[in-house]
């Protein structure tokens, strides 16, 4: 755990020894390789789009941090590999009270953090209280955005919080109290942010000392150099100058130890550069190959692992500025105008599907009994005429300088949608802005009449999708401008708070039907699966719909 920058010229003296160990290590790796796949040992290098911002998942919002932290840390709840379904993690089992406000977790015994301290009920409550008691910069939406999304406010009570208290009833039993029943529990506890961290390390390296500095935030030593969890890999070093994070096997892991000796995440921002690095054998796999490369990578003998689509791409309709868009018929005309089948076939990767609901069919409450709005330009024109909106003129926003898993090539997707809409006589004022350079800002502040956007799911509840989109009537769709906007918010809240699972599912089914037939605040277009790719030597990697791949089961046969 020596940090790179602290190593100085003193290393010169022992460099000979270093070279020798390095040789010995690489020879060992080769020997292991000859006995076939599935064995332990070796190093795997996996290329990612970005380098992690920090290593404390509680303060993180970026995928690169979560990918690393998920190897180092574990939560009470985990997601079953390859699915978005919750399964026991550090808690062996749990149950909730009748009213859904008290949750009892029975913890796994004999688990130790990487620093040798025990994982127990007190450690769990220490973590919950750490999250709840953030102050100052720790309350900024940029720092603890996930907490505020999932649990609301903090101990100071300025904003209501879902969290009430945590009590260690014995060494391995935790009683968690929440202020109201919610569909999000226990699934949210599987999110990377709610992973268990070593209380001793948190205190020793001053984990809570995040400060706002200038235009951004500076994170404490814990988050940059000393992440300490219970997971199958331990943090080894982060070579910032080279953009590589190195993890090593945790030999004292409570479960089956990781197969790899070393796991390296390497940041290669450019998609083409990642592909070429794989082709040249510089890396063993990479994240997010472009859909156009899938075929080529497979025929070159690599393994393409397709994640089940857990996202939604939609055409948003903003009702704030153009009164005609508050007319359901106009919105229905827009839905009928778009040829979603052709869009999915031409522009999206293998396995992509036309979306009928605002979330994929693996989530509770999905139903095929929704109004579908098939591609029908004549019907669209007729609806526009009926609504007296033949001369409908609206602006349409599309983002530049970005690709998202649900939106691999915004320019091309926009091109098709633009053609569809103009074909039924809608006049478009096109606005394209850089994703971080005004696009999100304009869309969030309601300047866009029509816009391209989507969402990557975090966990398997409907609220993660529809709750995020529509529960605040003052949202980017401007649903509050229509009389039903407030009703929709109430319906979402009611469904989320229903403790009975069956009743809850029925409520979501009804909600989904109404969302399509009566409200139609946006047109759901597609679910599109992202992928990752590894060489043929890699085995044991399971693609996760949540981008939550675990590398402890991965082994590599060196060629």
């Amino acid at each position: 755990m020596v940090h790179i920058r602290t190593v100085r010229l003193a290393a010169l003296g022992i460099s000979a020894a270093l070279v020798m160990t390095a040789c010995a290590e690489s020879e060992r790796g080769d020997d292991d390789g000859q006995s076939g796949g599935g064995q332990t040992g070796g190093t795997m290098t996996f290329a990612t789009e970005g380098a992690p911002k920090l290593f404390d998942p509680f303060y993180a919002t970026d995928g690169a941090t979560f990918r690393t932290s998920q190897q180092i840390f574990e939560g009470l709840v985990e997601f079953k590999p390859g699915t978005a379904d919750a399964e026991p993690g550090l808690a062996e089992k749990w149950e909730s009270s009748e009213d859904g406000k008290t949750w009892t977790f029975n913890l796994r015994k004999g688990v130790k953090f990487h620093d040798g301290t025990d994982f127990n009920a007190e450690a769990v409550c220490f973590n919950f209280n750490r999250w709840y008691n953030q102050t100052g910069a720790g309350q900024s939406p940029a720092v603890t955005g996930y907490w505020q999304d999932n649990f609301g406010g903090f101990a100071d009570g300025k904003t209501p919080s879902l969290y009430e208290s945590c009590a260690a009833t014995d060494e391995s039993t935790v009683e968690l109290k929440v202020t109201r029943s919610t569909s999000k529990l226990p699934d949210i506890l599987g999110l990377p942010s709610w992973a268990m961290q070593s209380p001793e390390a948190l205190q020793k390296y001053k984990a809570d000392e995040v400060v706002a500095q200038g235009d951004s935030f500076v994170y404490p030593e814990y988050a940059t150099e000393h992440p300490t969890g219970t997971g199958p890999f331990k943090f080894s070093k982060y070579d910032e100058a080279n953009g590589t994070v190195e993890l090593v096997r945790n030999e004292d892991y409570w479960g089956e130890p990781a197969k790899l000796d070393k796991l390296i995440f390497r940041a290669i921002p450019d998609e083409t550069a990642r592909k070429q690095a794989l082709e040249a054998g510089d890396i063993d796999g990479y994240d997010l190959p472009g859909p156009a490369d899938w075929e080529g990578l497979k025929s070159a003998g690599h393994q393409l692992l397709i994640r089940p689509a857990f996202n939604i791409f939609y055409l948003g309709i903003g009702q704030k500025n153009v009164a005609q868009l508050r007319d359901l018929k106009v919105r229905q005309a827009i839905a009928h105008a778009i040829d979603r089948e052709a869009l999915v076939k031409q522009q999206l990767p293998e396995g992509a599907e036309v979306a009928e609901n605002f979330y994929p069919d693996t989530v509770t409450g999905w139903t095929d009994e929704v109004e579908s709005y098939d591609y029908n330009p004549d019907k669209a024109k007729q609806l526009l005429t009926e609504a007296g909106a033949q001369n409908l003129t609206v602006n349409i926003y599309w983002p530049t300088e970005v690709t998202r898993p649900y939106m691999p090539s915004p320019r091309d997707l926009f091109g098709l949608i633009q053609g569809n809409l103009e074909a039924v006589g809608i006049k478009l004022t096109v606005v394209s802005k850089p994703w971080n350079g005004g696009y999100l800002e304009d869309v969030d502040s309601g300047k866009a009449d029509l816009f391209l956007l989507g969402w990557n799911g975090d966990y398997n509840t409907p609220d993660n999708f529809v709750g995020n989109f529509f529960s605040d009537p003052n949202n980017r769709f401007g649903t509050g401008n229509s009389p039903w906007g407030a009703t929709l918010s109430d319906e979402i809240k009611a469904a989320d708070s229903e403790p009975d699972a069956d009743k809850r599912e029925q409520m979501y089914v009804e909600l989904n039907k109404k969302l399509k037939s009566e409200y139609l605040p946006a047109v759901p277009i597609s679910h599109s699966p992202p992928a990752l790719v590894v060489t043929k030597d890699v085995s044991g990697l399971v693609a996760s719909p949540l981008t939550d791949e675990r590398f402890d089961t991965v082994s590599i046969a060196s060629s």
Partner: protein, 308 residues
């Protein structure tokens, strides 16, 4: 700063050396026999003719994805060479030949407008500074020095990135602004050199007004080096516009084709569909080469040293 500016000043000094018709005539005599110049001029003429005739030459509308149904992103499939489409289609099913032909128009526009704006801005600043002198000169030239202190392409990229809503005009502007200080420096240099030259002193002693001296005598005599620089800038502008596109700062709307943008977009599929990159790249290289050849041979022809 001064080393870079020296180079510009050196060029401007040439105009003042021995101005007038004799120089131009002598230069033309040498150029007529220079194969490098002729080759470059040939390329430019061909390019301009193509750009002008493109709407009639292009077999299809370059913005319509007429072969769109042959595009399957999931299998990296684009329309192949087929009847009526001698070069096949692009990533969105548009006719590649038509896009290349009409792309010449946009590329020419980018080059010409970037040069004109650069020249116009430089003319304004340079004339102000050179003709008026004094504190105007000091202020203008300090501003010019600040701009010259950022490397050219980097400045263009910075400007390109800073527009809230990039489009084809922001690309032109980004490339053009970079040229303003260069032209300004160049023009001021030639004017300063002429302020004490015989023909200007003669005009002044005859009572000719300052403005008339500037426009009738000083400016025409600065033309030589300006033309040289402008030719070179045309080549630079085309290449820099392509670089902007490559960095994702070009015109996001690709319905009207432009070579730099086509090349920038083709980078991700260069191994599977190299033709999408090679055609526009080839066009850019040839045209840029044409302007460079002409510019360099003009520079040489105007250089008094080479007349020995």
């Amino acid at each position: 700063m001064s080393t870079r500016t020296d180079k510009i000043d050196e060029l401007s000094a040439r105009a003042a050396d021995d101005a007038g018709v004799s120089l131009a005539a002598a230069a033309w005599r040498r150029l007529r026999r220079n194969p490098v110049f002729l080759a470059g001029a040939g390329i430019i003429v061909l390019f301009v003719v193509l750009a002008a005739a493109a709407p009639w030459l292009a077999p299809h509308d370059p913005s319509v994805p007429m072969l769109g149904d042959q595009v399957v992103k999931a299998r990296n499939q684009i329309p192949a060479v087929q009847d009526g489409h001698p070069l096949g289609g692009d990533q969105n099913g548009r006719d590649l030949l038509s896009r290349l032909l009409l792309g010449s128009q946009q590329t020419l526009l980018v080059g010409v407008f970037a040069t004109l704006i650069g020249l116009g801005g430089g003319l304004l600043l340079g004339t102000l500074a050179g003709a008026l002198g004094g504190w105007v000169d000091t202020v203008v030239m300090r501003a010019v020095d600040v701009m010259l202190s950022i490397p050219g392409l980097l400045l263009a990229v910075s400007i390109g990135a800073l527009f809230a809503q990039p489009n084809q005009y922001t690309v032109i502007l980004a490339v053009a602004i970079v040229q303003i200080p260069i032209f300004a420096r160049l023009l001021r240099g030639t004017m300063l050199a002429q302020r004490h030259s015989d023909h200007v002193l003669a005009a002044r002693s005859l009572g000719v007004k300052q403005r008339a001296i500037v426009f009738r005598h000083m400016l025409p005599n600065s033309l030589g080096p300006v033309i040289v620089q402008a030719t070179l800038v045309l080549a630079i502008a085309i290449i820099e516009a392509a670089a902007l596109s490559f960095l994702g700062l070009g015109n996001p709307d690709d319905r009207i084709p432009e070579w730099g943008q086509m090349l920038g977009q083709a980078q991700t599929v260069i191994d599977s569909h190299p033709q999408l990159a090679f055609w526009p790249a080839g066009c850019i290289i040839v045209v840029a080469l044409g302007f460079t050849l002409v510019g360099e041979s003009l520079r040489e022809a105007l250089d008094p040293k080479s007349r020995r």
